[in-house]
Amino acid sequence: MHIVDPTSGIASSETVAVAVSEGSRAGALCGLSNSKPGAHDLLEAVGRRLADDHGIGPNGLEAKPSAAVGADPELLDHLAAQYRLAVVAIGD
């Protein structure tokens, strides 16, 4: 059977340059909170554990301006330029 792929469409071709060097661990990790109180607490704890147990850090902590909206492109560009990895929490 031949079907039209219901998931098909035109993918975005936009890319963002990564500013952090490959060998650096500083600033490599960011916690991105959905701005709910539980998410902030959770990400702070994750950041402490990564620093204490694995020596990873310093770690950043960022948040969306509102839990009700997606992260806007400016915030995502900022994160991509500053960090190599983001841990996202919805910790409601």
Binding site: M1, H2, I3, P6, T7, S8, I10, A68, V69, G70
Partner: protein
């Protein structure tokens, strides 16, 4: 890149269901395979529309992919323009599609249809209009949900993070009733009476307002206000729009007593209040973080009387419905192309 897939081992309905399940397609109910022939038939005479990328996946749908989802949902070609209008409407920035799809809240894309297209498609705005039974209601709402699932990528448990979801996520489409004593909602919003219009909102399922005993409009509004004054809706602190969908009998009583949508809106703004004592201390702190304080000894149910939209739908009986929203959304209306 071709959008055609060859599924060599899929030769009957059961194999098609299994193939969908394997790929994470569909809503769990049976769908119709979107063969090239069916998609071509769906697109015959389809209007040209401009569409942007659908969050959270960020892929821009094509007319063919929307038509494929319409086929899967059970749409007829005549239904496609309403589906296209709904897809365009939820892409309005004010609707906040990304937030409404990825949230833990159970909101679903509500589609209300006004104007002549209702009769042409057999859309139900009468008895059981929010329930099952009318093909157009079922398949148009379902097609929109499938587009958001398949092209948008809002897969439950993955990018759709709803805590419990709701039955409205399968399909949530209905028509305005002709039995309204006032201007239809689309006309209230500035469209011509002859326009066919879809109005979308990221909405909770309807909350029933049962009032068999009241005999005046004022009494009915007391019951409506009590139904709206509950502390567990997003509207309390995220604010945003909500919809009062009056049954025709309640609407007739209200109109007989001189009530209009404007006066109903003003009255409910003053009387649908949530006593502070009904809100926990923790929630009060959360509301403050969202910039929401009580007005005296009670909270309002939204931030502005104009956020309450009023329409009429349903059949015989003494029931109405209050439809709260995700909060961070808007009621967006678009003409059907």
């Amino acid at each position: 890149m071709s959008d055609v897939l060859d599924l060599p081992d899929v030769d009957d309905a059961w194999a098609w269901m299994a193939a969908c399940e394997e790929r994470g397609w569909g809503d769990g109910l049976p769908t119709i395979p979107p063969t090239e022939e069916r998609v071509a038939a769906m697109l015959a005479g389809a209007p040209a529309v401009e569409l942007g990328p659908l969050p959270p996946r960020g892929v821009t749908p094509t007319l063919r992919s929307i038509a494929a989802n319409a086929v899967m949902a059970g749409c007829r070609p005549a239904d496609l323009p309403v589906v296209l209008a709904a897809v365009g409407a939820v892409q309005d920035e004010a609707y906040n599609l990304h937030g409404s799809l990825a949230t833990t809240h159970p909101c679903a894309p509500m589609v209300m249809v006004s104007g002549p297209v209702r009769a042409a498609l057999g859309l139900n705005g009468g008895g059981n209009c929010l329930g099952q039974g009318a093909r157009a209601n079922a398949v148009i709402g379902r097609a929109l949900s499938l587009v958001l699932l398949h092209v948008g990528g809002a897969r439950p448990g993955v990018l759709d993070r709803s805590t419990q979801g709701s039955p409205a996520k399968y399909t949530f489409c209905f028509a305005e009733s002709d039995e309204t004593p006032w201007d239809p909602l689309a006309v209230q919003r500035g469209f011509a009476a002859g326009d066919s219009v879809v109005s979308v909102m990221a909405a909770e399922p309807p909350h029933n307002v049962n009032d068999h005993g009241s005999t005046t409009g004022a009494e009915i509004l007391l019951t409506v206000a009590g139904t709206m004054a509950q502390p567990g809706s997003n509207n309390v602190y995220v604010r945003g729009p909500h919809l009062l969908l009056l049954g025709p009998e309640h609407a007739a009583t209200l109109a007989r007593d001189g009530w209009t949508p404007a006066s109903i809106r003003a009255h409910l703004w003053e009387h649908a209040r949530i006593p502070v004592a009904h809100v926990s201390e923790g929630n009060r702190r959360q509301f403050v973080e969202w910039g929401v304080e009580p007005d005296g000894d009670a909270y309002t149910v939204s931030d502005d009387p104009e956020n309450l939209h009023i329409a009429v739908a349903g059949g015989a009986g003494k029931h109405s419905a209050w439809i709260p929203s995700f909060g961070g959304t808007a009621l967006v209306s678009r003409v059907v192309p």
